[in-house]
Symmetry: C2
Subunit: 346 residues, 2 copies
Amino acid sequence: MAPKKQVTITVVAGQAGVSAQTVSRVINNRPDVAPETRARIQEVIDRLGYRPNVLARSLIRQRSHTMGVVAVAWEYYGPSHTLIGIEKQVRAESYSLLLDLLHHPEIENVERILNRLLSHQVDGILWAVPEIGNNRAWLESDHFELPVPAVFLNMEPKRNVWSVQVDNRAGGRLAAEHLLAQGYRKIGTITGPLDWWEARQRLQGWQDAVRNAGLIDDSSYCIEGNWTAASGADGIEKLLERQPELEAVFVGNDQMALGVLQVANQRGLRIPQDLAIVGFDDQPEAAYYCPPLTTIRQPLIEMGCRAVDVLEGLIEAEQREETVGEAQATWLMPELVVRESSVIAK
Amino acid sequence: MAPKKQVTITVVAGQAGVSAQTVSRVINNRPDVAPETRARIQEVIDRLGYRPNVLARSLIRQRSHTMGVVAVAWEYYGPSHTLIGIEKQVRAESYSLLLDLLHHPEIENVERILNRLLSHQVDGILWAVPEIGNNRAWLESDHFELPVPAVFLNMEPKRNVWSVQVDNRAGGRLAAEHLLAQGYRKIGTITGPLDWWEARQRLQGWQDAVRNAGLIDDSSYCIEGNWTAASGADGIEKLLERQPELEAVFVGNDQMALGVLQVANQRGLRIPQDLAIVGFDDQPEAAYYCPPLTTIRQPLIEMGCRAVDVLEGLIEAEQREETVGEAQATWLMPELVVRESSVIAK
DNA sequence: CTGAAAGCGCTTACAG
DNA sequence: CTGAAAGCGCTTACAG
């Protein structure tokens, strides 16, 4: 097997009879090259299939044009969609993406992950891991000054931290207000795990709306789930046991709502007459549940894109040695999608 | 703003009073360093937070320890799960992962993507893009000899191409045979888009089983969908129109099966008495559909892991300049998961 | 418009 | 057990 001949800039220069520097000028689209010289070099590049080695380029330019992305490894709708938005925008801004998925976001060794990314000389870091328990504690400990800009997704805004997040509290409020507007009064909620910031925010939104309506947000109307359909099914069982009069329920995500639907259907409850249901996420499947599910749509792809945009701005500013001012939080608004699980057909 | 001082191996060497080469020995865990020297260097490394620059290392070692992964950008269950398996195993074998997601896998510019990956000096490439139409044509055109090993996921095995795939045909057969075993005879199918290899394989499995049972696989029992729940709903409408006697249907994925369930429920068909349904994928939600969906589980995460394993073997072999023999296809078997949508409760 | 030379941060024979 | 020197493939002032 003949060794694969590596085509370097030196090889191209040799074949074209010019210096490596001139080849470099052509590759980088510098204007100051004589047209004939440029053409000759381009011909050699095409013929040999020369491909610049970006490692060498990054080394000398002290910048890799790569973003490090840390995300979670689950099949859940939210994380995978956010990642799609991130990748899309990273590509659009012609960066490369070094990916690191966490399998246990609540306990993962942050330092190891950051070191891996930083060893690769990423120009910036996107932290797309849900805020769970105190898995943001490391951000506070100030021995952890990142040498590159970073943007965090879906976390409680913190001083000096750039972040992009969906307003989950507004989402919870939208859901509950919608149910109130339909005339329901005894409205329960099944939340995500309450060590998740997002779950707490959705719960608070529900509380806001219920209190504003002059109703009491009795904790016996709240059940904590774990995002799975199974926990939704369990949750509604418990809720109905505690509150047999329950008229409606706001469920923290569509998967749990599916579990609620199953139990309601099995019990012969009419939806929404006997029990109205609102989910959260708007997965594509939600429109095909029986009945189709009213839910809160999150702009997940947009969140990913925006985060990349912000990071790109920070990287550019750093390159130009500009100061960027105080870190900001960018909020995105969810929206209500009304379907049959909450509105009695005329 | 003080410039962030880059800690290089030279800085460490200076502080520890040794040569850069000795520091390098410590970093790379070479044995031939005096214990005291090693300790002194390690102390400096820890104190300064030295982090090797892997770009420089890759440049000199002529190997990046990075795998390039090309996958599809959808929220579908299959692709995202496969990616999770890939990432997990890439990590386990302590490689890094450079990710490139396709948004239009049937038309995407393959050359541009490969160049991007190869410019980053990836040690190998994982092609986790579904085989659609002739989007594998470039593999045949022999001017496309890849300079690094590559493994393809879920494609029709080809000579000289390493691949890892689920036996979708066996899956289709399992599904149809299960329905036959339950006593159903008039069994239709709603397929994925037939320019997808996977969709065609599942259809063939259905045909195998139906023919083996001595039944005629009349094409009026087949409807082509597009993987979405909406197309499943449309599909079953058409199928019932053509074949009002239809007893059972094998649906090419769980999302389409959800659409089928919705229509069946709306029409008041009893499932499975009036219409039995089997899906494909076994998404977590499938157990919570009404009724819970019998389906074919694909070992997607395992497929991702296996592909990485194979690629790692090829990379290692190339490093050691071993010959690897002829390219092989690795088949993984799907399995039947029985739930209420196909079995009449006793 | 062009090129010789230095250097990014690391590793690797080689010599001692 | 240790180090001086060369070099991976590229870019960048600088000089002409």
